[in-house]
Subunit: 446 residues, 2 copies
């Protein structure tokens, strides 16, 4: 194999990035959220970039993998999964393909582990954590390969089938400021229908998004129904989505679906669990989407067999990278299930990766989610510009982004300086700063 | 996009290749069988190779696609499917994603179209034909891309996970010579258990194959059971497969499975149709494999839901190329279904493509089928050498094979000189040369 494609070094840089006080069923986003930047540097001197969750459990898995990668070719992404399993300190070096034990006792029904993506990712398993780590290594390898060859990542994935990728505005109930640390932006509070509509208008003006998604599960369903109704009046005919992160019962979900059936593009994870989703799906014509009941390949067969979801939200951080995201798309195509794209708090490296893979998926017929407009900080030199709600697919080599090393160093410094209280994202703990009595609600909450 | 990756020209060369008188349920292989060699030549002067079925229906689909490809990048393989559909002369230029009409009235149950792969490919649809054509174009694009970049095709597919690929000996009942044209090789006849064992011994000696597959559906099941028993005695502990191409009833299939359950690695397509296969699967512990009831993505959900197959035989000519073969592998992995590899009569270009993609599939746990040892002619300059039943995965750029232009010209001359009687493979017609009363048997035959 070409020597210039051999991995010479892998750098991991955990960072803390500023995040606004966005509300969800778990609590509220922390003032700073952990991310991990992965750099794969080749003997040819090219640096490939990847980005994933930065909590300690991910770091623990990523560290031993860096050594394993050294001396291998950046073209070898198929075996990253087996490598990650073999180097997983929670399972030990093994070639046994059986899934290792979970790193934590699995949370019981209605409980959340409180760590993964603020507790919004379902039961935490060693497998899910590994896939998120692999995703950043895979993306970094593809970026390095593309930069070396002079090809965009989409060309390494079989080529783009569209020149722009549509994104959706991600509306949140939110406070104006974090309770302890003060304001991080000028968006102000949004705690009622008028506030949500005002937020949507600003997204519309600034980015041109046509689709709107409201993160629900924060207020009683009547209030969230009213917010969606207000959006439908303010933006007639626009695709609208509501996502309460599994906070509702089957009955509540069906009632909300009845109320909003004329305006919803889809209802995302109204209730928790495949059986509840299947029951709701059977009782409404509103399409159900998920990034909670189907987040791994293992969860696909049961959910598809039960007709629990009509649209799966792909997310390369969840599914193990860009190649696996394409495999999920093939599964959805085969089973006649729709495809959209999910997002957690992320920076420009992940946005570039999302855009590159989305460009290659003929199966993608919904605008992708992104938290990106909420992020005031980044580690890439140039912020991407949304026009008419879309990003142009870069044809530059690799992901088409460049690392801002000064910004990376500053955000890493923040991580180093943290006393450990923010290094693991915990939206319930963040909420307890304002409300000491807060605990993650049992679901169904309503 | 890099100008040297742009397609400058696409050449289609239909050829007729010598084929021995191998017997199957349809009849017998013709003395010459049609194949199509696709060359994609870039502005950089690189020629990428692909190979697929060469019957007229495939040529009719391939010809308009050559013009469409000109001026596009060889990296753009994702949209070949849409392009092929848009240029399909049987559907006309259209952007409608709905499947076009079949090119032929669909054969009724128990009938065979008599053209595709000698009638062994189930109901012929426009979709299946297009996927076979696209597979050759995709392979040729990947070969050209790899040659341009200095990377093997496996590296373009995420990297090999093994250094050698195991193949299986493909045993056939056969005559010594074609009735009208005389002998093409020195293998002699094999028409009983002793003949099959002798054939297996020669495969074992010459190639080191460890697995043996017998093409059945030729003689009454008792005789084929006896042949497998004889193989099991001659080669104790070796993986054995029997494939009657759907010739048996459910009852017969279950009876054969009972007789051979202690020696079969798997039973391939004992009966025709998903329901029959599901009924057999429920009644035996012998794993059922298929390359007939699941040959397209559309056929997957029903077959998997019914538990009709435990092992799917992938085939990049069937499934639309190397990328789609990897998608099939992901589907099988997700649903806990095993993966093996199918072959029809093919040359060294396809063997190289099969080996490259097989090398990238962690899910592949069975030796691949190949007809290649039966082929005395080829269009590549160097015949690959099987050692211990395995081919070494080439790390040379592209597929790692070179076109023998003199050989290609000679085989094309044979195609030009043919009066049209052999340009569409028809194993039943070939059988009628020996037995004018022969007609393709209705299945179940036994």
């Amino acid at each position: 194999m070409d020597a210039k494609l051999i991995v010479d070094e892998v750098r991991l840089t955990p960072i803390l990035i500023s995040d606004p006080p966005l509300l969800n069923v778990q609590g509220v986003h922390q003032p700073y959220t952990p991310r991990l930047v992965v750099e794969v540097i080749t003997r040819g001197g090219v640096s490939g970039l990847g980005e994933t969750y930065g909590d300690g459990v991910y770091l623990d898995l990523a560290r031993p993998l860096t050594e394993t990668l050294r001396g291998r070719s950046v073209t070898d992404v198929n075996d990253l999964f087996a490598l990650a399993e073999a180097t997983d300190p929670t399972t030990g070096p093994t070639t046994d393909p059986a899934p290792g034990p979970t790193t934590d006792p699995a949370p019981g029904p209605g409980e959340a582990s409180g760590v993964d993506a603020g507790g919004l990712r379902g039961v935490r398993t060693a497998d899910k954590l590994r896939l998120s780590v692999v995703s950043a290594f895979e993306t970094a390898c593809l970026d390095a390969l593309g930069k070396t060859l002079g090809l965009p990542v989409h060309a390494l994935l079989g080529g783009k089938v569209r020149d722009t990728v549509e994104y959706s505005a991600y509306l949140f109930y939110r406070w104006a400021t974090h309770p302890a640390t003060g304001p991080v932006d000028d968006w102000g509070a949004a705690l009622d229908p008028a506030g949500i509509v005002a937020q949507a208008r600003r997204f519309d003006r600034a980015y041109g998004f046509r689709s709107f998604k409201l993160k629900g599960g924060v207020f009683p369903p009547e209030q969230e129904i009213a917010a969606i109704r207000a959006l439908a009046e303010a933006f007639p005919g626009r695709p609208l989505r509501l996502d309460p992160n599994g906070a509702w019962s089957v009955e509540t979900s069906l009632a909300v679906a009845r109320e909003l059936k004329d305006v919803l593009e889809y209802l995302e994870d109204p209730a928790s669990g495949t059986d509840a989703m299947a029951e709701i799906a059977a009782g409404t014509e509103v399409p159900l989407a998920t990034n909670m009941c189907v987040t791994t390949f293992e969860e696909v067969p049961e959910a598809f067999a039960k007709g629990a979801v009509e649209i799966v939200l792909c997310d390369h951080h969840y599914w193990g990278g860009l190649g696996r995201t394409r495999e999920l798309a093939a599964l959805c195509r085969t089973y006649g299930v729709g495809l959209s794209m999910h997002s957690n708090t992320h920076l420009g490296i992940s946005l570039a990766a999302m855009t590159q893979v989305a460009a290659t998926l003929p199966e993608l017929h919904h605008a992708c989610d992104t938290h990106y407009p909420w992020q005031s900080e980044d580690v890439v030199t140039t912020r991407p510009v949304f026009r008419a709600g879309r990003l142009t697919v870069s044809d530059a080599p690799g992901l088409g982004v460049e690392l801002d090393r000064a910004a990376l160093a500053a955000l890493h410094r923040r991580w180093l300086d943290d006393d450990g209280s923010l290094r693991d994202r915990d939206d319930a703990a963040a909420m307890r700063v304002a409300d000491p009595e807060w605990h993650t609600p049992k679901v169904p909450r309503w």
